[in-house]
Amino acid sequence: MRDINISEITGVVKKLCLDTNFVLPEDVWKKLREAQATEESPAGKDVLKQIIENDTIAEKEKIPMCQDTGLAVVFVEVGQEVHITGGDLTDAINQGVREGYTEGYLRKSVVADPLRRKNTGDNTPAVIHTEIVSGDKLKISVIPKGGGSENMGSLAMLPPSAGVEGVKKFVVDAVKKAGSNPCPPIVVGVGIGGTFDGVALLAKRSLLRPLDSVHPDSYYAGLEKELLKEINNIGIGPQGLGGRVTALAVLIETYPCHITAIPVAVNIQCHACRRKTFII
């Protein structure tokens, strides 16, 4: 067994909350620059210029790239040879979120109850997805998820007869319906398969994949390409002002499913595609 003290976990989560809000990942930078080169609409080009300028200021001056610094979604892969010492894993993660959001002057955007709506004051609790894996490492990924794009997500339990065409229509319609709301250019996270609960998680987890990566299964690599083309043909464009670049990438994650259904979920991510992973 390998001992990992919770103080180390707290420190890593804190740093990831800060880094993600100030520094746009390199793969997203690359896609934004490509978008600026290919966008035809003058208004769209101007928006992309503003976004690139914004993200440059954010990194240089440590100002959050977006005022919605998100609800911290934390993915944790715990190696089964790891022994966590000094306290509770969930508490350690939430302490990291608390410290990061307080010390970094990040916005506190979490209410304690969905209906009674009192702000918790420190952006906790995080939404935590824990998985036990082989090995003796602890892998932590943080995605601070803003409301504008998160609120545009959708999910369906399609019948098997809907097939790949049904899935494509559902995804494209979700993006159409979202329109200008989720701050395009967006990243479209798609979950296909699993169960009602599992498919949403697939869609969320897909957002961790680098935007310039190719899906390991050539069938889905092709589907991602087709969907990206169809989505960019809608014409929504940067910030919905009309244009060629509505999405920077489509990322699909799949899982086996029941004989009666094709679960499909779309989790939309704004252009501030903030996420970072650290392995302890």
């Binding site: 609409s41 208004a43 976004i51 200021i57 100002i63 005022q67 919605d68 329109g179 002002l241 009309g242």
Partner: protein, 183 residues
């Protein structure tokens, strides 16, 4: 693209001259308000109580800024999604509101109200809060401090960039943009 320089609060002429698709730079006084503040303002109007700022000609900016660091005027301050304010906007326009700044599409009812009450809706770039914060020269909380990031602030802005989405003639840049670029 040509850019118009306009001042806030908006007068009748400013609003009448703005056309869907115009790029503008706004200088002057605007007020922040989002979901919770809109609810509070609506309650004050319904109870016939005085409002924390003059609504006649006012421009509201849908923003919940991140906290300012010591020495900063304001933290990151980009627009939030506007449809959540649709339920409240018509009443505010009836009481003199002339401009709204946010991002994302408005409801047909709000677009109609903009025609009836001669008001405009502008979009600022969502997710450009660090950049937009540079155009905010002064910020002061004037009401509902208990709402935290949702408190109403009076902002002094200089050359704040926005684009007109809905003008007083019922035009909608979001619809036009898609039509133009759909394949």
């Amino acid at each position: 693209m040509s850019t118009k320089k306009i001042s806030a609060p908006f007068d009748e002429k400013t609003v009448a001259d703005l056309k869907s698709g115009d790029s503008v730079l706004i200088t002057g006084t605007i007020y922040t308000a989002r979901d919770a503040a809109h609810k509070c303002l609506t309650e004050l109007i319904e109870q016939k109580k005085s409002l924390p700022f003059e609504l006649r000609g006012a421009v509201v900016y849908y923003v919940g800024p991140s906290p300012e660091k010591p020495g900063q005027v304001i933290g990151s301050a980009g627009p939030t999604t506007s449809y959540r304010m649709d339920a409240y906007s018509t009443l505010l326009m009836q009481h003199g509101l002339k401009g709204m700044i946010g991002k994302g599409k408005r409801s047909p009812a709000v677009i109609d109200a903009m025609k009836n009450y001669r008001a405009v809706y502008l979009a600022a770039t969502g997710g450009a809060g660090a950049l937009l914060s540079k155009c905010i020269k002064k910020s002061e909380i004037i009401a509902f401090e208990e709402l935290g990031p949702e408190a109403v602030r009076r902002l002094e802005v200089e050359n704040f960039p926005a684009i007109v989405i809905n003008d007083i003639h019922g035009n909608d840049l979001y619809d036009e943009g898609i039509k133009k670029y759909a394949r």
